[in-house]
């Protein structure tokens, strides 16, 4: 019976995550506009966009994979959000984190990306096919420092369970991994920039350069699903990073604050840097964050 | 520049010569049969390596097309316009592709817009700007664009004031010339 409660809670989390994610997107647009000296759209603009997209009247499909890809994308987003505990050991908000641990989450994160890549490729548009290759290449770039920090933390705390990781960071702000293992955290947080594909690592979508990247051929309901998936995925990743580096959360307010701080970090970085080319991004990730992270990594290795 | 013209005159028959609006711009008119020789001479001996443009003028009054070959010398930094006249009823001429490969696209343009065909240019019948144009070449002066436009594209039947733009423009340019 408890599983149905879980499902109910999960639904709430997903809907909440979606709302939060859309709001963050709106805020991001607003911040960007203000930095550029504009008024910018309303913070709720993303909600409006989503509603509009859902209520488009027609849509086109290029094939089965094209059709299923938005579902994969959404599934990937939901999976990541639901597999990380927002509040560890909370019946409602630890989600399905009993289903797997950090390794599962790491691999599940790829699920949506791969699905979207396949759909994009199925559309037959050369830009859509080009974008995933960029994305995967960039992924190979940022995953290295990210894995470095994750493995470092797992070894340091002797666990790959996210709940246990959160539990290990309790007891004051100085117990956070951000302060316990600052170099690992820096590497991880830089990797996070790449993971969000915001500037300077926005070569995947690269608006105006390769149309809009993978979803070039997507429209209407398909696009709304992708949009949804992306928002939820974004929130899921913020929660993951919060659990990894910022000590998790004990209540919702804390979770909101911490994820919002991470969000601001991404937004502000992305607004002041121009775009890297793929190989520049890869080289960047394989040098600075890696070297920085290795300091702590070796410290843990020796210990 | 005058020396150049004299040298040309000593070899070829120059029908008319005229200084342009700059010191380094001269216009000469030659016989149409000697054009290739002139261009070849200019290219090989006088360093006019660059064919900047081939243009066409419809002298409907004289029943002639004027073809102007605008040359440029990088060494001397001089422009020379060589012009010839061809019969308007029989708009045919030979290509200068063998001298200046870039003439291909100019000749294609003239072919499309004036209907002058250039013997020896393999691509002259391809579309240049217009797709599937089937009427009289549009830049000929006996082509009535207004009539064509109205017939083909219609006209907005509204209270927009219609001005004879052509008249205004000609008035304006006349006035400007007079100054």
């Amino acid at each position: 019976m408890w599983i149905w409660y879980k499902v109910l809670y999960a639904l709430i989390v997903v809907i909440g995550g979606l709302a939060y994610g859309l709001l963050l997107g709106g805020i991001s647009r607003k911040i960007t506009a203000r930095l550029q000296g504009r008024r910018g759209p309303s913070v709720f603009q993303n909600y409006i966009d989503l509603i509009k997209l859902i209520r488009k009247r027609t849509a086109i499909s290029h094939g089965v994979m094209f059709f299923l890809a938005p579902m994969f994308r959404l599934l990937g987003g939901i999976g990541v959000l639901l597999l990380v505990p927002i509040i560890a050991n909370n019946t409602a908000l630890s989600n399905f984190s009993f289903g797997g641990d950090l390794i599962v989450v790491l691999y599940f994160m790829v699920f949506g990306c791969l699905g979207m890549a396949l759909g994009a490729a199925d559309s037959g548009h050369p830009h859509s096919a080009l974008a995933p290759t960029r994305g995967l290449a960039q992924m190979a770039g940022y995953e290295l420092p990210f894995l470095l920090s994750v493995i470092g933390l797992a070894i340091a705390h002797n666990t790959v369970s996210l709940s246990n990781l959160v539990a290990a960071q309790q007891g004051g702000i100085l117990h956070w991994n951000l302060f316990q293992y600052p170099f690992l955290s820096i590497a991880g947080l830089i990797a996070m920039l790449g993971m969000y594909m915001a500037y300077p690592f926005s070569v995947v979508m690269a608006p105006q350069e390769i149309a809009v990247g993978p979803p070039t051929e997507y429209s209407s309901t398909f696009l709304s699903f992708m949009f949804t998936g992306r928002s939820i995925f974004g929130v899921g990743k913020y929660v993951l990073f919060m659990d990894l580096f910022l000590g998790g959360a004990t209540n919702l307010v804390e979770a909101f604050v911490k994820t919002f701080v991470l969000f601001l970090f991404v937004v502000f970085i992305s607004n002041v840097f121009p775009r890297y080319r793929t190989e520049q991004a890869v080289r960047f990730f394989w040098t600075y964050p890696l070297v920085i992270g290795l300091i702590d990594f070796i410290r843990i290795f020796i210990k | 520049m005058e020396d150049l013209i004299k040298r040309i005159e000593s070899i070829f028959k120059v029908l008319k010569k005229e200084r342009g609006k700059r010191d380094n711009l001269w216009i000469i008119e030659v016989e149409k049969d000697s054009l290739h020789a002139v261009l070849s001479y200019l290219k090989d001996n006088e360093s006019f390596k660059h064919l900047a443009l081939v243009s066409c003028v419809d002298w409907i009054e004289n029943n002639k097309f004027q073809l102007s070959y605008i040359l440029w010398s990088y060494q001397k930094r001089q422009n020379l316009i060589v012009k010839i006249f061809i019969d308007r009823d029989k708009p045919e001429f030979k290509t200068v592709l063998n001298l200046f490969p870039q003439a291909e696209i100019y000749e294609r343009e003239i072919r499309e817009l004036y209907g002058v065909s250039f013997e020896g240019n393999p691509t002259q019948n391809e579309d240049f700007v217009l797709e599937d144009w089937e009427e009289m070449p549009p830049m000929r002066r006996d082509f009535d664009t207004l009539k064509y436009s109205q017939e083909k594209y219609g006209d907005r039947d509204s209270e927009v004031q219609k001005t004879n733009i052509r008249k205004i423009i000609s008035d304006f340019t006349d006035e400007w010339r007079r100054k």
């Binding site: 579902m71 797997g100 791969l114 470095l148 | -």
Partner: protein, 1062 residues
């Protein structure tokens, strides 16, 4: 039984009568010749048969003129002489037949007389008991050979003959000097008599040393040892091949027997040293000089010389090596086998070289592939010559290596290096000959002698195997199994008219064998690591064999026999109980798989073979290190005692080669990529797993008992990790579907290697799970790729695209395979990754964990590339009417895809087997635990496969339902209906993005994907080649130099004797 002297007398009379009565005509001459040969052969065969059946119990002693031994001249025929006589006469008869058939050199009667004299001389040489008589017979043989060599009367043969005459004269001078000085020293010429008179202490005097050396040195020149063998090579190159065949195949063996026997009678104490120095030098030098050789006859000449060197080495060990017990017996059989093998196969090769007529090996293109029967004979001889199991050469080499005492390990190493070098150039020739693009070439003349020779070779192979298993006393089940394999393969080969029948028979055999195995209670009840791999092999083989059905008509008749051979030899590997039987089946597997790959593409197969040979021989060297004085056949468990580090490393090399671990991976890309499509799944899915099996055996049985085992294991893990990473990175930049999958395979096996190297129960769990899983998904991918290549006719990725519209089922299966490969949760791939990572975490190998995880991220790149370039994007016009891949392949694909799903939901389907297997490795638990029904817990984390699958599928369905609730009006549009800046694309090709998908990434990782390793190998190879090319100029072709080297060698021998190096 005939008196041996009759043979000599009859031959002599026949020779003279031919000479005198040649005016009676050709028929008479040939009649007399053949009658003589027939008589001699029958006679000597009867003697040999007498020895064989033990009718004749003691050596025959013929007293000529009735004088007793020390006084008269005696013939002394023992077992070996008789057998060798049979061989000599057989080869002689074959060579004569060949010669006559190919058009004998004029004048024919004289040539036949010389032939008879040659046989006579060599027979006498083998039989005689008298040193001076020996000299006479040697001279008869030599003069006959001079004449025969020169008989072609062209520039080459005359030149060779003259060189032979000069060097031969010098040699006989030494022999004569030795003989007469011996007479002076011992007062007798009878060998036995002398042998009884001298003893080793006499050698301290100095005189006897000089005498023996004189005598033996003369024989050594005739035996073509290294610095003095230029003339021999010239003969091989220049003389008539029929003559060369009898010389190399028969006469030289006579000289060898004489040499060994004389040394034995003389009790020459330095034979071992001389044998080692000159035998090894000859062997190695000629094996390497042959690399650069373009003339096929000289190439065979180098090989013959090399074999003689090996024989000298073996003989020296037999006579003078202090071998005891089994080792002595082994060495004797090694010598006999070497002689037989070399005589028959080399003479066949010379016959065939003559039949084909081309001298330059580059012109041999198409020789095998276009003449099937010729090809069969050629392949058999070459395989036998190079020591491929189950031919005689293999058993000879095995006996030889086993017999050499352990303190002479460097000899083992050098001999094996030479053997590898031999394989390198022999199969370079074989590669050229089996190329398929040459114009139609035919051979001229009769192949009957070659056929006889090869039939004898095949018979000898059986004999060799029988003798090997009986003498070594290895379990009879191995022999039975080997016989079973051979018989099955031959059975499949025989019905080669119809591929379908072959397919059915092969499949039937595999299935019935598996059924038989499962019915065997013993096998099921004792489930251990070996049963695990037997089941793996059989299941994989049945599945992949089934999928070859639509492809079968492309393949030659030998495809299915070799397939069966490969599969059963892998079963043999899996059930092996000692290292030697493991090695035997390992070599069987390598060679049969080489022949299979060679049916696809030649050069990669050659590289594969050379690498396999290096691996296999290093394994043999390692096994040699494991053997102790009395225990020549190391058993797995007993080998625990005092195993040196090098043994483990050497044995491991073989497995690393098969696993394609960097830097030994260079064969893998092309061998996988260009082998026949029906075989590649087996190669990747099962054959590379034999490396895994071997690695597990090594780590379980060997590594724990050596020092620094931790460092070795850690190093292995690093090898695995770097392989996993860099092969994945290389795969990203391939443009050929099978080559991507090839690199991917190596990369995945790298993961398995990490798991094994962990040597913890969780590590083994991960490795075994991933082994099975890799079989499933990589088999799936390769089978699907085979189907796609079958339908589209290309494996080049940029040529494909959009095939999802034509092959939906294949796409589905392929997608499943790719998701499994990428290790994304709901399917089975993730479990292996999770187990491996947990195991690595448990052992705190952080850097390896980092690299391994990162490698799987890199893998996504080529996963996407495969899916995109084959199935997605724009469909080309030429594939518009392509059909779905053939039904058997679809069935296999869907079965395998279903398996990945099932295993993904319930990993215990595989894990329960691996758990059992791990328990037999000495672990009490598999390293993880079940919590509840589905949740698997390690020390670090937990994971619920069932939940993940339900969660993913459930969420997916919910998303889909949601989508259908809100969806807009959807139209399925055409393939070129894309938003293309208002333009209409004019063709699918113009908007398909399929070539060099990761050009941008290439700029970032250029230094990592540059083929450093390949280039290093190439440089080493080219450097060796250049070195060989330079040093082989040693054979200047100048007669004076040859003579000079004789003197220098003699001086060298005396010098080192004088310095007391011995």
């Amino acid at each position: 039984m005939v008196n041996p002297v009759v043979i000599i007398a009859v031959t002599l009379i026949a020779a003279f009568s031919i000479g005198i009565f040649q005016f009676l005509g050709k028929k008479f001459v040939r009649g007399v010749f053949w009658l003589t040969i027939l008589f001699d052969f029958t006679a000597i065969l009867s003697i040999a048969y007498g020895f064989l059946t033990k009718v004749i119990k003691a050596p025959i002693m013929v007293k000529i003129g009735g004088f007793p031994p020390p006084i008269g001249i005696n013939l002394y025929v023992d077992q070996l002489s008789a057998y060798l006589g049979v061989v000599v006469f057989f080869i002689g008869a074959m060579a004569a037949y060949h010669w006559i058939n190919r058009g004998i050199d004029d004048p024919e009667p004289k040539a036949l007389v010389l032939m008879l004299l040659l046989l006579l001389g060599s027979t006498g040489m083998i039989f005689t008991q008298d040193f001076f008589n020996l000299f006479v017979f040697i001279e008869i043989t030599s003069i006959a050979s001079y004449g025969l060599v020169a008989s072609k009367l062209d520039g080459f043969s005359l030149e060779a003959a003259f060189k032979y005459i000069v060097v031969g004269s010098i040699s006989s001078t030494f022999v004569l000097l030795g003989a007469v000085l011996l007479y002076k020293f011992a007062g007798s010429l009878n060998m036995l008599d002398i042998s009884n008179h001298i003893n080793k202490s006499m050698y301290s005097g100095g005189m006897l040393i000089i005498i023996s050396i004189m005598f033996l040195f003369g024989l050594l020149i005739e035996l073509e040892v290294f610095p003095m063998n230029g003339w021999a090579l010239d003969i091989y190159q220049g003389a008539n091949p029929a003559v060369v065949a009898i010389l190399a195949g028969g006469i030289v063996k006579g000289f060898y027997l004489v040499f060994v026997r004389s040394a034995n009678y003389l009790k020459f104490p330095y034979l071992l040293k001389i044998g080692i120095i000159f035998g090894l030098a000859t062997y190695l030098v000629s094996q390497f000089f042959a690399w650069k050789q373009k003339d096929i006859r000289r190439l065979f000449g180098y090989s013959s010389v090399g074999q003689l060197g090996l024989l000298i080495l073996a003989g020296a060990f037999y006579i003078n090596g202090n071998l005891t017990g089994f080792a002595k017996k082994y060495m004797l059989f090694a010598i006999i086998f070497f002689v037989l093998n070399h005589s028959f196969s080399k003479s066949t090769l010379f016959f065939l070289a003559d039949l084909f007529g081309k001298r330059n090996i580059e012109e041999w293109k198409g020789a095998i592939s276009q003449n099937k029967f010729f090809g069969f004979l050629f392949s058999s001889s070459v395989l036998s010559m190079a020591g491929a199991p189950p031919f005689l050469g293999f058993w000879a080499k095995l006996f030889f290596i086993l017999a050499i005492p352990r303190q002479y390990f460097y000899i083992v190493v050098l001999v094996l290096i030479g053997a590898a070098a031999e394989i390198l150039y022999y199969f370079n020739l074989y590669r050229i000959a089996s190329e398929n693009d040459g114009e139609v070439l035919d051979y001229k003349g009769s192949i009957i002698p070659s056929l006889f020779n090869v039939l004898v070779l095949l018979g000898l192979a059986v004999l060799g195997a029988y003798k090997f298993f009986t003498i070594t006393g290895m379990e009879i089940q191995n022999a039975k199994f080997l016989a079973f394999i051979t018989v099955s393969a031959i059975a499949v080969l025989i019905i080669g008219i119809s591929r379908i029948a072959q397919w059915i028979l092969a499949l039937g055999m595999l299935i019935s064998f598996s059924y038989h195995l499962i019915r065997n209670q013993n096998f099921v009840s004792v489930f251990n690591i070996q049963s695990f791999f037997v089941i793996l092999v059989l299941v994989g083989a049945v599945i992949f064999l089934f999928a070859t059905y639509p492809l079968s008509k492309k393949y030659s008749a030998s495809f299915y026999p070799l397939f069966i051979f490969t599969v059963f030899s892998m079963v043999g590997i899996s059930v092996a109980s000692n290292w030697i039987s493991l090695f035997i089946f390992w070599e069987l597997m390598s060679w049969s798989s080489y022949l299979l790959i060679n049916q696809g593409s030649k050069k990669p197969a050659w590289i594969y073979l050379v690498m396999s040979a290096i691996g296999g021989y290093s394994m043999l060297a390692g096994i040699k290190l494991l053997s102790t004085g009395s225990n020549l056949i190391p058993v797995f468990k007993a080998s625990a005692i005092a195993a040196p580090v090098w043994a483990a490393i050497l044995i491991f090399t073989a497995f690393l080669v098969k696993m394609g671990t960097a830097p030994l991976h260079i064969w893998a890309r092309d061998a996988y990529g260009e082998s026949p499509d029906g075989f590649t799944p087996l190669l990747s899915g099962v054959l590379s797993k034999m490396g895994v099996f071997g690695a597990i055996l090594t780590i379980v049985y060997l590594i724990p008992h050596i020092s620094h085992s931790n460092i070795i294991l850690y190093g292995l893990a690093w090898f695995g990790a770097l392989t996993a990473l860099f092969m994945a990175l290389l795969a990203v930049f391939q443009e050929d579907v099978k080559k991507i999958l090839a690199y991917s395979s190596i990369s995945q096996v790298g993961y398995i290697l990490i798991g094994i190297a962990l040597a913890t129960s969780l590590g083994y769990s991960a490795a075994l799970y991933h082994t099975v899983n890799h079989l499933i998904f990589k088999g799936l991918l390769f089978v699907a790729a085979a189907g796609i290549i079958y339908r589209t006719g290309t494996s080049y990725l940029p040529e494909m695209g959009g095939l999802i519209r034509r092959m939906p089922f294949t796409f589905l299966a392929f997608l499943m395979g790719i998701i499994t490969l990428a290790g994304i949760p709901p399917l089975s791939g993730f479990a292996g990754k999770w187990l491996l990572y947990s195991a690595l975490l448990e052992k705190r190998w952080m850097f390896i964990l980092l690299i391994a995880m990162f490698a799987s991220i890199v893998a996504f790149m080529y996963c996407y590339k495969l899916l995109h370039a084959i199935f997605l994007g724009q469909l080309r016009d030429k594939y518009r009417d392509t059909k779905e891949v053939p039904l058997p392949i679809v069935i296999i694909e869907l079965i395998l895809a279903g398996l990945t799903m099932a295993v993904g939901m319930k990993p215990s389907l595989i894990l329960r087997f691996s758990d059992k297997a791990i328990k037999t490795l000495g672990f009490s638990n598999p390293g993880y635990a079940y919590e509840g029904a589905h949740r698997i817990v390690s020390k670090f984390g937990y994971w619920n496969a069932y939940f993940m699958a339900v969660f993913a599928i459930g969420s997916f369905i919910i998303a889909l339902v949601l989508f259908f609730l809100v969806k807009a009006k959807i139209r399925k549009v055409g393939q070129l209906d894309i938003g293309y800046a208002g333009e209409v694309p004019d063709s699918p090709e113009s908007v398909h993005f399929g070539y060099d998908l990761y050009a941008h990434m290439r700029r970032a990782v250029r230094v990592f994907i540059y083929p450093h390793v390949e280039n290093s190998y190439r440089r080493i190879y080219q450097g060796l080649m250049a070195f060989v090319d330079y040093t082989r100029r040693f054979y200047t072709g100048d007669l004076n130099t040859y003579a000079l080297w004789v003197i220098i060698t003699l001086s060298f021998i005396f010098y080192i004797l004088y310095k007391g190096v011995f």
